[in-house]
């Protein structure tokens, strides 16, 4: 097996062009597990977590977007300054694994694995992120919604590298909640990301671990938008159960050894309700007319 460490983006892309069957290794926290378990074999590995272009991020004040390099780690996403741009991504990052894992694992690796349980992914889905891909042939941008084609299946072609993702910096509540059977270091049995754009008057809800890919809950989103007063930051309390029910209806969960479809659906209902309530806290009784 050959293992090559790339230090620049060009170098990485050339290595991949030379050996299109090569496997990309970032933090290795998914890949090494798969190799050790014998679920995957490889003859050539290209390490990308020392590539400067992938290790950087940039906030564009003009478009108010944040471009995050693929090799940015969860430890970096959790803390300032990055956490300030996307609180939900920071929350999601904090739920990943243990400190050791968060120091090694990257957002690009999460996207590359494209597990329905990947914790960074509901946030990217809720924020309508764009995934940046590059090869020696050029670059292309893929909306996150079209990136995963099934559980652990993506549109990435041999020789292509994920260079990063771009997300909008929104004005409004963002939250990520994840249910697992343990209080830390656990795979999500169900998860949800809620993001409110007070300027654009949108509410976005993305669901993890309840379908082959990350799902959005468009009906729930519509219910929330109609019931919300974005200026006051309040919502009609009667819409909350309908929102939660619509979210649960959007889930497409299965029974497996980790949980049951019925539990997962219920969990989505509860998480959605709680997230919406956090986003639009009930006005203090008596405070408004």
């Amino acid at each position: 097996m050959s293992v090559t460490v790339a230090h620049t983006l060009d170098e990485a892309l050339e290595l991949l062009a030379a050996t299109p069957s090569a496997t990309v290794l970032a933090g290795g926290t998914d890949l090494m597990v798969e190799l050790n378990m014998g679920h995957r074999r490889t003859d050539a590995v290209v390490c990308v977590n020392r590539v400067g272009e992938l290790r950087s991020w940039r906030h564009d004040p003009g478009t108010d977007t944040l471009r995050i390099g693929a090799a940015i780690t969860y430890a970096e996403l959790m803390d300032a300054p990055l956490a300030g741009f996307s609180p939900a991504l920071a929350q999601a990052a904090r739920t990943v694994g243990s400190p050791q894992i968060r120091n090694a694992a990257t957002i690009g690796g999460n996207v590359g694995t494209a597990s329905p349980a990947g914790d960074g992914l509901p946030v990217l889905r809720a924020l309508d992120a764009v995934v940046h891909l590059a090869s020696t042939a050029g670059t292309r941008d893929v909306p996150f919604a079209e990136f995963a084609t099934g559980p652990k299946r993506t549109v990435v072609q041999p020789g292509e590298l994920i260079t990063g993702v771009t997300i909008p910096v929104l004005n409004g509540f963002q939250g990520y909640s994840k249910v697992g059977v343990r209080n830390a270091m656990v795979i999500a049995t169900a998860s949800a990301c809620l993001a409110v754009d007070t300027n654009g008057h949108t509410v976005r809800l993305a669901l993890g671990s309840v379908g082959p890919v990350i799902l959005r809950a468009p009906e729930a989103e519509t219910i929330a938008v109609q019931a919300a007063d974005f200026e006051a930051g309040t919502i009609d309390p009667e819409a909350i159960p309908a929102f939660a029910a619509a979210a649960a209806a959007a889930a497409r969960p299965i029974d497996d050894h980790r949980s049951t479809a019925a539990y997962r659906r219920r969990a989505i209902e509860v998480l959605s309700r709680r997230l919406l309530t956090r986003a639009f806290p009930a006005p203090t009784p008596g405070a408004s007319s």
């Binding site: 059977v181 343990r182 209080n183 497996d256 050894h257 980790r258």
Partner: protein, 769 residues
């Protein structure tokens, strides 16, 4: 025996290096291997290697139940670097092994009976070569319908899946007036899932063949060197003395290393190839390769007076032993004989079965059958409390067992039995002073933790109780003695024993005993191997009592020699001599000779075997003095529960444990905290999931162990009444912490949500729906 002049022999010390350890009984010295373990330099058995060694690997059954039609090894032999391929045909001696009944094949020959059963093994120059060799072995199976319902094994409606039948053992206990009834009757079914010992140091061994293949040396992480040796020698058709075992560094055991796993395979491959062979399991293989805690279904009915006094218990227990016997029959006996819990009870009808299925074999795990019994009897005590309008503490106090009471087996409890005190001292411990979510509202302190699933307003708090009785040492007539040899030379004591140090701290305690009895500072531990008599198993909470008794006994014999010598030298009756600190002193005069000086240039040596008092087998009505001794414990759990999501945060566990005498208080607290972690695990997350006979979570991604965030605060009181039956007054402390902590946590969840939970581990869906 008299003192001899010292000769210059070199003593090998064990691999437990580090700072010099001091400390006598009652102190809490650091472990001799502690620093090395923390720094990562301790050699675990997985770190063993020898020049020119080969790797071994095991081919395992993919089916829960199948007939082996044919095995074609040619593909494996054709691979470069493969040095040996062995199957059942190559086992020179007894084809099967086992701790009680030898029914488990070294390699499956005609049938495979569980997913993961060894079928063949290879030795090759590299682990990758081994992997390819295993993949190249062609086994043709005729797949059969597996027996996965233990009830069908117990009721005899499934055809035998083994010539010995589907029932390992049935035991009935009938005592007193079986027709007795109470004014209050409560009953329920309970279910306990399969827990894994989940030690972190995976199974690993290194076998080095003697020249000419006349014998073999095995370095292995195990719980009982001599028992391993006997079973290995029988399978290899070698005399026992030709199989020599040395303990490899053990990274946890909890019962899973009591049975044979890779021992025979490693030795066989080494003998076949004439080269050292090492085998190291992966985590997945470890799940398949060792025995687990028995899943159990228990029905229980209590009759009581209106004021809550137990009149009679009835129980029916079915334990799933999996494919092979292991210690199932002994685990069953523990379950049925502990069904009453630490409570007075005159009348009982208990029926228990340990059965064979096509599931993973089950055997020893910390608590050994009593965990299952306790989950049921403690659930019953809470039901009884509710039915009588009493609180959980009061019902337990009213029934608390005392010294002199009889078990439902008719055995009289002769040990110190401070059940009442355990309960009262636990109740006296402070409840957590923090509100739900902690003082600073840290979401990590809420159920769901890092997942940020809840706010304080969603959470309900509950409190629950569990109290337990646990037998110590082996039962039913078994003489599980322990041996130790002590050599006192030039003021240094060398200790030789075969006691497996699996993390429990016997290496620390042995030094404390020698320092206290002999008045020395320097204690050398010789290698733990089979060149001395058996120490019995490091299990059943027995080594402090048994090997501690052996080291104490040997030290006392040596001390008598020393006193005889000093007495003769100084013309003092040896009976007047005693050890005071580092000196031999005349208790009736002024003589004071430092031990180091008194032993200069001399060697005193003796060996002692400690045997506990004999026990009996049970008769057909389950009557008899089958157990050696007992210890008691109480737990109170405080939990926070998110009822809508079914998530739990165990906030605090308070415990008072009957320890006899805390010889090393820090070690005792370590056992208490560790046992509680395991008890919490069984309460809320740890379970091996088997569907249609296939394990679905043989990895730490899906078999969840409590993390630091899941671990509650532990507040503990040690109840110290030295037990006159115990050689050092100390009771075993290893198992009780994990026994009643589980039902306490589950009771606290019930209390929080007002719902009947009868199964452990409690899954989120059990709380939600």
């Amino acid at each position: 025996m008299s003192a001899t002049t010292a000769t210059t022999t070199t003593t090998t010390t064990t691999t437990t290096t580090g700072a010099p350890v001091t400390g006598r009984l009652g102190d809490s010295p650091v472990r001799p291997d502690g620093i090395a373990k923390v720094q990562g330099s301790f050699a675990f058995s997985g770190d063993l290697s020898a020049d020119g060694s080969l790797w071994g690997a095991t081919l395992r059954s993919p089916h829960p139940y199948a007939r082996i039609v044919s095995i074609d090894l040619s593909g494996a032999w054709a691979i470069n670097g493969v040095e040996a391929v062995v199957t059942a045909e190559d086992v020179p001696g007894k084809p099967t092994y086992g701790l009680i009944d030898q029914d488990q094949p070294v390699f499956a020959s005609e049938y495979v009976r569980y997913v993961g059963e060894p079928v063949a093994a290879v030795a090759a120059n590299h682990p990758e070569t081994c992997r390819r060799a295993l993949a190249a072995i062609r086994v043709e199976y005729e797949v059969l319908e597996p027996l996965t319902d233990p009830e069908r094994a117990a009721d005899g409606t499934f055809p035998p899946i083994h010539p010995n039948g589907n029932v390992f053992r049935h035991q009935r206990i009938v005592r007193g007036d079986t027709e007795a009834t109470g004014e209050v009757v409560v009953e329920s079914d309970y279910e306990i899932g399969m827990q894994d010992q989940a030690f972190l140091g995976l199974e690993a061994a290194l076998a080095i063949p003697d020249p000419g293949g006349e014998g073999v040396e095995l370095y292995v992480a195990t719980q009982w060197l001599h028992e391993d040796r006997g079973q290995i020698a029988a399978c290899l058709d070698l005399p026992a003395e030709k199989v020599r075992l040395t303990l490899g560094g053990v990274g946890g055991a909890f019962g899973a290393r009591e049975d044979i796993s890779l021992q025979v395979h490693t030795c066989l491959l080494a003998l076949r190839t004439g080269r050292p062979v090492r085998i190291a399991y992966s985590r997945e293989e470890s799940f398949l390769g060792h025995v687990h805690r028995h899943p159990a279904r228990i029905w229980m009915r209590h009759h009581a007076t209106r004021d809550g006094k137990i009149v009679k218990i009835e129980a029916r227990i079915v334990m799933d032993g999996g494919a092979y016997a292991s210690t199932s029959s002994a685990v069953l006996i523990n379950a049925v004989t502990h069904m009453q819990g630490p409570y007075k009870c005159e009348n009982a009808v208990v029926d228990g079965w340990a059965v064979r299925t096509n599931h993973l074999p089950c055997g020893a795990m910390r608590g050994f059958g009593v965990v299952q019994a306790c989950f049921a009897h403690e659930g019953q005590m809470d039901r009884l409390a509710a039915a009588c309008g009493l609180d959980p503490v009061e019902i337990r106090l009213r029934n608390a067992m005392e010294t002199g009471d009889r078990l439902i087996t008719g055995q009289v409890i002769e040990n110190v039995a401070p059940v009442r005190e355990c309960i009262l001292e636990t109740a006296a411990l402070p409840l957590p002073d923090e509100p739900v979510g902690g003082h600073d509202g840290d979401p990590m302190r809420l159920p769901g933790g890092a997942g940020l699933t809840a706010d304080r307003s969603h959470i309900r708090r509950g409190i629950g109780w569990g109290v337990a009785i646990k037998n110590l040492m082996y039962s039913e007539g078994f003489d599980d003695f322990s041996t130790a040899r002590v050599t006192l030379r030039d003021g240094v004591a060398s200790l030789k024993f075969a006691t497996a140090e699996v993390g429990q701290g016997f290496v620390t305690l042995a030094g404390q005993i020698a320092r206290s009895v002999l008045g020395v500072d320097d204690v050398v531990l010789e290698p733990i191997d089979t060149t001395v008599g058996s120490a019995g198993s490091t299990s059943a909470s027995r080594q402090t009592w048994m090997s501690g008794g052996a080291v104490d006994g040997a030290c006392r014999l040596v001390r008598e020699q020393l006193f005889a010598h000093v007495g003769a030298q100084h013309g003092v009756d040896p009976l007047r001599l005693a050890i005071d600190g580092r000196d031999v002193v005349d208790t009736m005069g002024d003589l004071c000779v430092p031990v180091a000086q008194a032993t200069a240039g001399l060697v005193f040596e003796d060996t002692f075997e400690h045997h506990h008092r004999p026990t009996e087998e049970l008769d057909e009505n389950g009557q008899g003095n089958c157990h050696t001794a007992f210890a008691f414990v109480a737990h109170r759990a405080v939990v926070d529960v998110d009822p809508e999501l079914g998530l739990v945060k165990v906030v605090q566990i308070a415990t008072a444990q009957d320890v006899g005498r805390a010889l090393n208080p820090l070690s005792v607290i370590g056992q208490i905290e560790g046992g509680i972690a395991q008890g919490v695990g069984l309460a809320v997350m740890e379970e091996i999931v088997q569907i249609d006979g296939r394990v679905r979570n043989a990895n730490f991604t899906d078999y969840l162990l409590p993390t630091f965030l899941d671990m509650p605060d532990v507040v503990a009181t040690l109840i110290e009444h030295p037990d006159p039956m115990a050689p050092l007054g100390a009771k075993g402390v290893g198992e009780p912490p994990c026994i009643s902590s589980t039902p306490a946590v589950v009771a606290a969840i019930r209390d929080a949500i007002g719902k009947d939970l009868t199964r452990t581990p409690v899954r989120p869906s059990d709380i939600v729906f």
